[in-house]
């Protein structure tokens, strides 16, 4: 029983380090989109790990912790996607190290938006790199 508590505590510690790194990324990254990536991916993993660790520490609460984790996994990417799209729509500036903006190119060819547009963008990118 003690080993289960210790395992849960260590998993929660690793998860809280991920939470700290995600917050550090939100502070330090150069533009909005990089901040969003750090602030969403790292904190999702961190909160999953902390909730799992606390569920192992206190096994009677494990189902509720799993429900909370599933909820975070379902909603966090959705809200970050909507926010990134809204920020791009309201012309938030990108960092000057940005290589390309695929959504802008897709909006340029608004008459026939299909799967070919993304492939063309990738082809152009490959030609530039070659």
């Amino acid at each position: 029983m003690e080993i289960l508590k210790l395992t849960g505590a260590i998993i929660a510690l690793i998860g809280s380090v991920f939470l700290l790194l995600g917050a550090l990324g939100v502070l330090r990254m150069p533009d909005l989109y990089n901040r969003m990536q750090a602030g969403t991916k790292a904190t999702t993993l961190g909160s999953l790990l902390t909730l799992t660790g606390m569920g192992l520490y206190h096994p009677a609460w494990l189902p509720q912790m799993i429900m909370l984790g599933l909820f975070i996994v379902m909603t966090n990417p959705l809200s970050s996607h909507a926010l990134a799209r809204a920020a791009h729509h309201s012309k938030v500036a990108m960092s000057n190290k940005t290589v390309e903006d695929a959504l802008e190119k897709m909006n340029g060819t608004d008459s026939n938006i299909d799967t070919d547009a993304g492939r063309d963008v990738n082809d152009n990118r490959m030609e530039e790199l070659v």
């Binding site: 510690l13 917050a23 902390t50 909370l68």
Partner: protein, 86 residues
């Protein structure tokens, strides 16, 4: 031993709240502040779970769930507003 590690993890998550709060204050645009708010609420859910564990009250987990739902709806509403659809 395990309780000490859990407490250290809670302190680390709390310092994450402070660091993301700096970006929430500084953030040049409204979208930056919303990203910081999103990260803050996700860290906050974990913190509420830590508080539930240290206080021994299972009801705080329901509070964390409602907090998550409200922050999700709030971020979606702000995103819709920034896009110009609200």
């Amino acid at each position: 031993m395990a309780e000490l590690i859990i407490n250290i993890a809670g302190v680390i998550a709390l310092s994450g709240v402070m660091i993301a709060g700096i970006r929430f204050v500084l953030g040049p645009s409204a979208a930056d502040r919303t990203v910081a708010l999103d990260a803050l609420t996700i860290i906050g859910i974990s913190l509420i779970a830590f508080i539930a564990l240290s206080g021994g009250r299972v009801i705080y987990l329901d509070v964390a769930m409602v907090y998550g739902i409200l922050s999700f709806v709030g971020v979606l509403a702000v995103a819709r507003y920034l896009e110009g659809g609200l």
